[in-house]
Symmetry: C2
Subunit: 287 residues, 2 copies
């Protein structure tokens, strides 16, 4: 496929876990993404649903594909799974490597408005336009453009929620593990939004799921939120799922919040429940 | 538990993935090991089977517990799983970090006979005596000493096989992913055995599964060997499962060799079939 370079391919659960790199025009750098092709994709023109998975702070495209065990469930359900990286790479914006929760591997799936970030830090448009279109074109033999879902973890859970709410109809199903639900009200979000968007808080609400859901006016949508009750970032109020639940209830958007006793923020937790999330998405995408 | 220090504990599939450290007398250094306690272990005195898992070259106790997805199957079957490290750590033997296939993280689960390795590189006795006894004592509430199995990958597959064959009855079940089946006849084994055991090849056969099985005289045992057909180390003749199969057939020891079309040497491959291995062990350990 033109412009795509195969980085790796490993057989797993009868399908293939691949990583590609490509030159991104939105981010103006070379980016990796992962794609799992389940066994059902073999032998040509069969159209399958797609789920995007967005990773959290400090991750690249590797964490999810090596640690979550999702491939078993993608294979069972016949679902293609795409995992982008979490920020531009190698663009060397001053200050991009000074903290683990801002800059490199902390792109927050938004389009930065403030210099010097606005040139490269356009993960919002990258995800919902450039990569979205690239996947439709490069894998057109197998991708069903009418059955696309999205999920994510932590910063990536925020990314999944805002991508759905800002782009009604683009994704048919959404779920999140320990998402940053209300970034305008937590330290991670305040730092990232100040840095990427500037001081004008009227811009912040455009990238905050709890604010966006209040004005959501798209096709019917149920939000599935999973949260470990022992997650220290939940306890420290970085995630605030209750704020999202309250906002959803105020406007009648269905939301399921599953609190998991004793589970933390790690991939040990994600791997325990990702099968349930695949079932949730499959029910919607294969209805 | 005396002498054990808890390094980490994460809830996964209803149980707890823990890592402990302890001071090893065999290896004369501090060692980590992992132990998964399935949900069935909660609430006290219930005796469960145990499976040891031995990792391959370059690994420590982390690779298996983060990448294989075994916890789902351990939880389903109610099995405790213990994973030791692959060599002594921090003992600084001259030359121990010069290659990836000898020295640190390449202990080959044997007792070295040659200086300067013989002082610390005693992974054979560590595994089958010191750690074995430690687990029985420290987790006596939950471990059933009559139902212990062992499995491993690559160098760890070699370790699992020789541990069973050298210690009849110590382990009731054994399986291996891409094991080094005949180390006296492959480059990895020749290098390691020359380094750890010296030039006297009469010592080598005491740590070679294909040689040991020919004189095995213990309780009935079925060997389950799994091998990716696309594994480059298999193709390069580092693993030689056919030699083990031939030796088993010559003496009537049952062996199952499952060749997996298109699979490589990675944890992507292991994760695809580890569920089958747990079923195999559970059938024997829970009979």
């Amino acid at each position: 496929m033109e412009g795509l370079e195969l980085v790796s391919s490993n057989k797993i659960f009868g399908g293939f876990q691949k990583v590609y790199s490509h030159q991104s025009t939105e981010l103006q750098c070379k980016m990796n993404f992962s794609i799992y092709m389940p066994p059902q994709a073999e032998g040509g023109d069969v159209k399958l649903p797609v789920i995007y998975y967005l990773s959290g702070l400090t991750c690249n495209e590797q964490n999810f594909i090596t640690k979550s065990g999702f491939q078993r469930y993608a294979a069972e359900n016949g679902i293609i799974v795409v995992g982008p990286d979490t920020s531009p790479r190698g663009v060397k914006v001053p200050g991009d490597d000074e903290s683990w929760d801002f800059g490199v591997s902390a792109g927050f799936y938004l389009d930065a408005a403030k210099d010097p970030w606005s040139k490269n830090y356009r993960m919002g448009s990258y995800l919902t336009k450039e990569l979205y279109d690239l996947i439709l074109q490069a894998f057109s033999n197998n991708v069903d453009p009418t059955r696309i879902g999205i999920m994510g973890h932590s910063m990536g859970g925020h990314g999944a929620l805002v991508s759905v709410l800002r782009n009604p109809g683009l994704y048919k199903s959404v779920s999140a593990f320990a998402p940053i639900c209300n970034p305008t009200k937590c330290p991670w979000g305040e730092k990232a939004f100040t840095g990427y968007l500037g001081e004008d808080k009227s811009q912040w609400v455009e990238w905050d799921a709890t604010e966006l859901v209040k004005k959501y006016d798209g096709p019917p949508l149920t939000l599935l939120i999973d949260q470990g009750a022992g997650d220290k970032f939940y306890i420290e109020k970085q995630l605030l799922p209750e704020n999202l639940v309250e906002a959803c209830r105020s406007v009648g958007v269905p939301i399921i919040l599953n609190l998991r006793e004793g589970y933390d923020h790690s991939y040990y937790y994600i791997s325990s429940y990702i099968g349930e999330h695949f079932d949730f998405h499959a029910k919607i995408l294969k209805a």
